[in-house]
Amino acid sequence: MNQAMFTSEVFFWLSWILIPLLVEIIPSIGSAFLLMFKRFKQNKDPIPTLYPEISILIPVYNSANTLEACLNSIDKSTYDNELISVLLIDNGSKDNSYEVFQACQLKYDLSIQWLSSNQGKSKALNKGLFNANGKYIINVDSDGYFEANSITNMVNRFESDLNLHCLTGVILTDYKLIKKTKSFLLRQVRKLEYMEYCQAFLVGRNYNAANNSMFTISGAYSAFRKSTIMNTFLYNTNTICEDAHITYQIKAKKMNVGICENAIFYVEPIDDLNKLYVQRQRWQIGELEVFHMFKQGKLKVKNLMKDKIFSVLLFDHTFTFPRLIWFFALIALSIRNYPIMTVAYASFIIYALYVLTGILYYFSVRVYLNPFKADLKFYNHIFLYTLIYPLYNFYVFILRFMGIINSINRASSWKTFNFSDELEIMKNIIKNDFRIFKKSEDISNVNENVSI
């Protein structure tokens, strides 16, 4: 082997293996151990002498099929029904959600009220906030249901730490529905999605919360002290990502956002791959949109990397940025006729390292799932999916990356959209996706707009 080849070989391995190792794999090993350690150190939250009254806000939009299960889980929860007031805020349902509400009102010994609102989830939530009187306000989606101890655990956490102002719960997909899935392929995707939710909440957000760097609570299950949310401008009705927006507002007031990792809310697993495609892009676009709203006029490229919010955005559990670098490095190497076997070996090593960190994450999730025996059993059963999880993760990353591209496309029209505009925009964005990658003139347009 001559000198030049040796140098290029060393350079190759350094850049190919070292970058992901340093920016992604080693930090993730660190965080996995940190989370396990945190769990062992953690004491059980003390039980308050007197439980407070709480309000549960549930925006309703064509929720006839899921609403009863949601209300039923509140009724069956370990939190005293007398201390719960449920506000259903309808924002334009066209199905028989109202009849379901009436039936539930008769059936359950629970205070349930119905309010009407303009269309849009955040508008509905704002109406709820005006009418919520509880010490704590819990917001959930109407298409999921609480784990029995979820509400009690959430209140225990708030009561035991007065410095916590806002908490996100943990969203998991319903393992019973995953098991029942008929299509083989869809069942695999749903198991991987379950693993993803576990990691996103019990590792990703959990780690962010430990570092005080969590910038999105989950809109599907979040909780606030009433005193905290009264200090904000309520939900922003101009964004599709109102949950991220309210978190930014709370962070901007130097108030603490955390995760209650033993408060679980179950949602339905993904319908199909198309749905996954739309959902993930929406999340990515929404996150960037909120980021843009808060950074308006102050954005400079040289300051970007110093910005905590920005780095969390890029380095969050999707690790968009580092992956991007060597995803393109892979393409560049192939074009430059690099020995294909070397590239293949390197990819294999990286993949193996991903699986390894995936397994570490798997075990740190496991210590948090421990109190939830049924979920734990299911989680044990999907252990081997850690072997293919990096592939799924990469697919999701591609979707999110397309979301970033699309948000650059719409950057000029950030301002005000109503719900139907929003739907129309989403439809067009998704229709245009493939065109962007095919047409070269479109690519050049994208490049012109990259300087955010």
């Binding site: 906030l129 005006f130 401008f233 309520l234 009705t237």
Partner: protein, 119 residues
């Protein structure tokens, strides 16, 4: 004498921007809550829907719009106070047409920030 009143609540979702000391603020959205105290005159009962329709008709002009583009806020700075004063007048007339009295008016931008007018 016992005064008998009804309270109604309405919500207005709209965007606005305000001008302070010649500085034009950013466009931003609000969900305003508007609470009206209406006094019964003469009759025993006010059917809820009559007042509701009156007020919702008026608010519909502004729902989901940018206030600064709609009369009178195209020339009147849409601060909480100006919005409150304008709607107080306009609702007073609408309610008077039905033969009842608007006695209290409260507009809130959050549950902890409100502006009130009283007769």
């Amino acid at each position: 004498m016992l005064t008998k009143m009804y309270q109604y609540k309405f919500y207005l979702d709209a965007n606005h921007y305000v001008v302070f000391d010649d500085k034009v603020g950013e466009i931003h959205p609000h969900t305003w809550e508007i609470a009206l105290g209406i006094q019964l005159v003469g009759k025993d009962v006010i059917p809820f829907y009559i007042i509701e329709e009156e007020i919702k008709d008026e608010l519909a002009i502004y729902q989901n719009k940018l206030l600064n583009e709609i009369k009178p806020f195209d020339t009147l700075n849409p601060t909480l106070e100006n919005i409150g004063d304008y709607f107080t007048n306009s609702f007073t007339k609408r309610i008077a047409n039905q033969g009842w009295n608007l006695r209290t008016f409260m507009i809130s931008e959050t549950p902890s920030r409100s502006y009130i007018t009283l007769y």
